[in-house]
Amino acid sequence: MKLFKLAWASLLSRKANALLTVVAIAISVMLLLGVDRVSQQTRAGFANTISGTDLIVGARSGPVNLLLFSVFHIGYPSSNVSWDAYAHWREHEQVAWSIPIALGDSFRGHPVIATDHNFFDHFQYGQRQSVQFAEGHPFEHSAEAVLGARVAKEQGLRPSDEVVISHGTGSVSFHQHDEDPVQISGVLAPTGTPLDNAVFIPLVGLATMHGEHQAEEPQSPPSFSQQSVPQEDEEHEHEHEHEHEVALDSEQPIDSLSAFFVGLHSQPRAIFMQRMINTWGQEPLTALMPGATLQELWRTLNMFERVLAIVSGFVLLTGLIGMLATLLASLQERRREMAVLRSLGAGPGTIFSLLVSEAFVLTVTGIGVGVALLYAALYALAPWIEYSFGVVIHISWPSVVEWQRMAIVLVAGTVISCLPAWRAYRNSLADGLTIKL
């Protein structure tokens, strides 16, 4: 009979104990790998939210705040950028393209972004991927809107459906925009970024909703000239008559913006442009480079990450101590077994390899189960993380660091089992043989 069969029969006779050890190791491995993976994935997800934009410009404020509201739609701009400032920088010779955005409204809890066609033409995320339409097309009129993928899915909306957009960012809106419905012109393909959760309307649409063009700004060029446009729109099979419906080719659709994204002809010039905008005398502005500020943002979250790392270290320690405790307990249980084997001539090598190989097998199984649990948890939690943070968790093979950590657990588990193995041999033979039944 092979030693392996002996070890296996012995292990099977202690199923419950072995199972407990495996579970203890599995849970610590899962937490150890999971904590790291989630923070790495979140970091990658953050970095994927914007790409190809060289500068984000807003009113003077902290760059992290500017980044949070312009890219992640978290928080509000403390003040706005005038259209004139936007028009000035848009025409700068270094600027290849620019995207104006105005925030502040919401639709059933989803942030509403007022922008223009530049957004669909130039905005990029991930590895320089452009925004794609799953259905329909960009808005062409003031009373049209484009939905992010998840908004469409959650609200069960399709192009040509009509919705009412409210003012303010709460889910419960206090005053609705005069009950004027907008028609959905298109739905974006999923991006795995906060875009999925957003509703896009034209700047003109926002202005008309807020009544800017009727009363408050009578001198504003678009107001009257565009009032006539809806008449031409009747041929577009619109069932409702949209009083304020205007075309989008206005020179100044709105008075002020929350921020604008800028793409330069030459990316290395970004740092000079940033300084120029920050020191512009006519209006206090803040320009940021998204990559650098994302890193800064991540650094502010670094504390959180470090705490997680410490926690996972302790989790591993606890797991290993648990394993040592189980091994020592099972050794007590196995005193007679070891003594019997020794009395029949089994040497220290045999005793060692029996105990250590069992610990090795239990640790490997524990690691395997732990990794399986981790992937199960990732599959289960990924939608929740995406929902809560707009960040997609990519489920990929274990990284080098993760393999290293598994190796550390394996080595630690095996080394730890040498202690009971050594004790098993140190225990006097008679001690194990005369245990009364």
């Binding site: 030693l3 007679r336 040497g347």
Partner: protein, 231 residues
């Protein structure tokens, strides 16, 4: 030629000061069948485990088959025992998760000497285990039963088979008949004798059962042998 030679043996358990064993001289000839008796707690099991090299005496020499085992290291004594001594423990010490056959064959697993003796007869440890078990009245159907599923008397017989396999020179039996009825006891003894004779083994047999003494070549009273205060 002697199988066992003991000289000036003194042994006490670590926690004790008074020696449990104090034996001036003891000789048992090769092939002899010796009956050892004495009251409970007199040190019979202790003496057997000293002879088997499980305990090491504080002074004196113990020669088994002309090897002074007190001069050996613990590891060497483990080897020596595996090769030359078959021990039927009072507590049997079977592995509960192995079946009968493998419990018996296990004695060959760590002893190439026992394996070689079987090889010379062209027989595998498993076949020899089956033969011995059958001899000792463990029928074929029970061979694949786990030791934990046997009666106490059956466990004793499996333990005996494990001691006998591979024909060690010395068989030490610590009350192997305690769980058997009078008839089974005698037939067990006959089978044990037959196997010892076959292999030419010496037999040192401990029992409370004075009736059995007449079956042996010689009876030893530990009380007479042991000069320690306790005995």
């Amino acid at each position: 030629m002697n199988s066992i030679v003991v000289n000036g043996l003194r042994f006490h358990y670590p926690a004790q000061t008074e020696p449990t064993l104090d034996i001036g001289q003891l000789e048992i000839a090769r092939g002899e069948r010796v009956f050892l008796y004495g009251p409970s707690g007199s040190g019979k099991s202790t003496l057997l485990s000293v002879l088997a090299g499980i305990h090491r005496p504080q002074s004196g020499t113990v020669a088994i088959e002309d090897t002074d085992i007190t001069a050996l290291t613990a590891r060497q004594r483990d080897h020596f025992r595996a090769h030359h001594i078959g021990y039927i423990f009072q507590q049997f010490n079977l592995l509960p998760y192995l079946d009968c056959i493998h419990n018996v064959a296990l004695a060959c697993e760590f002893s190439n000497v026992r394996r070689q003796r079987l090889q010379q007869r062209n027989i595998s440890p498993e076949d020899e285990a089956a033969r011995l078990l059958n001899q000792l009245g463990i029928s074929h159907e029970m061979h694949s039963r786990r030791a934990s599923e046997l009666s106490v008397g059956q466990q004793q017989r499996v333990a005996a088979a494990r001691a006998l396999i591979g024909s060690p020179e010395l068989i030490i039996a610590d009350e192997p008949t305690s769980a058997l009825d009078a008839d089974s006891r005698l037939s067990f003894l006959k089978l044990l004798f037959a196997e010892c004779e076959r292999a030419g083994s010496t037999l040192l047999f401990v029992s409370h059962d004075a009736e059995l003494a007449s079956q042996f070549d010689r009876s030893l009273s530990l009380s007479a042998l042991n000069q320690s205060a306790e005995a």
